[in-house]
């Protein structure tokens, strides 16, 4: 029931008084209700649950966690750490 994948908004329209839209998931396009993300704009990504967009993906926050992970990689590579290594490893200051 939980679709973790965000879709990109490619169309906005109205249907029976409800704000609706189409989200593109890498070529597969799905109709969703946008009533709960009224401020959404074309090109933004949304997360959907049972036909309703429940949030607009915050691209800044998404980038931030990806950046943290990249940082992780960098630090650990510098330390020469081995993945799955159980011994305590010091991560840079």
């Amino acid at each position: 029931m939980c679709l973790a994948m965000p879709g990109k908004l490619v169309e906005i329209f109205e249907e029976g008084g409800l704000k609706m839209g189409r989200l593109d998931y890498d070529g597969t396009v799905n109709k969703v209700c946008l009533e709960y993300v009224p401020e959404i704009e074309l090109g933004q990504y949304a997360l959907v649950h049972a036909g309703f967009a429940i949030s607009i993906l915050d691209e800044e926050e998404a980038a931030r966690s990806l950046e943290t992970w990249r940082e992780f990689n960098r630090l650990r590579e510098k330390e020469g750490a081995v993945a799955f290594d159980n011994r305590p490893v010091k991560v840079g200051e």
Partner: protein
């Protein structure tokens, strides 16, 4: 695919796992609340790579699994009524009621249809004015906004032939019940990212401070779960009981306000029965008096039947994090996704189904 591949990158996973190993010094029992997370964990094998000090237990967060037998029996009774088009998410069709499931009811002639959204059921009601269209409105806080919107819209259009059989469950009251139980051994929670997207974090803050447990609102991909786990273990190791937000790309502290307002308009909080767990106070939603005419349980006067669950099914204990699926004697033998004894085996989000699919019996 954008915003997906990164969250499954095994290189990243390895680094986070190494980091979890580094910070873990004591044994910790951690529950992931959401069934989607359970699947991501078992599918990716994360649980095998964690420090042996960390025990992951699977929580009650599969809406299909916790829907009580009574609801299924009511659904079947309504579906079998003349002139009814009964709509449900596909997952619910094979959930066993006390004597049969919706799929069997369909083979026996009931008009049972699979929909992906309550708005599709609404559309069927518009197209079939001479039929009664009933939607099985189950789920956690994530499905409630859609189910509320369908009712608001039916009211607006004056659709007299649409109603919902409601079985909405709420996560925080269930967490409180688990935490208050003397059998509880869980010390920290990964809260379900999509539920928190709707509700926000207020109630979780209250739980964290009242029960002295750290909670991390966590996404559904493998690396989200690992990062959430790292944040949780760091709090456990340093004795902090806060609520942190790993899934900040979707969860805002206040939740989704228009969705919360719609839910509040249509539904009020009520006591709710959970399959395998029993009745938990204030853990469900009921249609408010103003919208009562859309309540299918009233419209079709279906009485709650007292029914018992298969004796050997331990799904109730599994949903409370007290047992794991492979500790069930029936698992993979008398109980398989083909012929399930309990809802945790039927549902694609159920813990038993996850184990069956990704961890077959040796």
């Amino acid at each position: 695919m954008k915003y997906l591949a990164e969250y499954r990158d095994p290189e990243v996973a390895r680094k986070i796992i190494a980091e979890i190993h580094r910070v873990t010094t004591k044994p910790w029992v951690v529950m992931e609340v959401c069934g989607g997370q359970t699947h991501a964990i078992v599918r990716s094998g994360i649980d095998q790579l964690l420090p042996k000090e960390i025990t992951l237990v699977h929580g009650p967060g599969c809406p299909v699994c916790v829907t009580p037998l009574e609801t299924i029996d009511q659904a079947i009774a309504i579906a079998a009524s003349p002139g009814v088009i009964f709509c449900s998410f596909g997952d619910m069709l094979r959930v066993p009621g006390s004597s049969r499931d919706l799929l069997t009811a369909r083979s026996a002639g009931a008009d049972v249809r699979i929909v992906y959204s309550p708005l599709e059921a609404l559309q069927l009601a518009r197209e079939n004015p001479d039929r009664q269209v009933v939607f099985l409105a189950i789920g956690f806080e994530t499905t409630a906004p859609g189910n509320a919107m369908a009712i608001i819209q039916a009211e607006r259009e004056g659709l007299a032939n649409f109603s919902e059989l409601v079985c909405q469950v709420l996560v925080p009251p269930a967490l409180r019940a688990l935490l208050a139980s003397p059998a509880n051994r869980v010390q920290g929670y990964l809260a379900a990212g999509h539920v928190c997207t709707i509700t926000g974090l207020e109630e979780y803050r209250e739980i964290a401070s009242n029960y002295k447990v750290p909670i991390v609102a966590t996404g559904l991909e493998a690396n989200d779960i690992l990062e959430g786990l790292l944040m949780l273990v760091e709090m456990l190791e340093s004795g902090r009981c806060e609520v942190l937000n790993q899934y900040s790309r979707s969860v805002r502290p206040e939740g989704n306000l228009p969705a919360r307002a719609a839910v509040d308009k249509v539904f009020g909080v009520a006591d709710q029965k959970w399959r395998g767990i029993g009745e938990l106070p204030g853990s469900g939603l009921r249609i408010r008096r103003e919208y009562q005419k859309f309540d299918a349980a009233r419209r079709f006067a279906v009485e709650s039947l007292k029914v018992s669950e298969p004796a050997e099914c331990i799904s109730g204990l599994i949903l409370q994090g007290l047992k794991k699926p492979d500790e069930c004697g029936a698992f993979g033998r008398r109980c398989t996704p083909e012929s399930p004894l309990g809802a945790t085996m039927v549902s694609s989000e159920g813990a038993c189904a996850a184990y069956f699919r990704y961890k077959p019996l040796n």
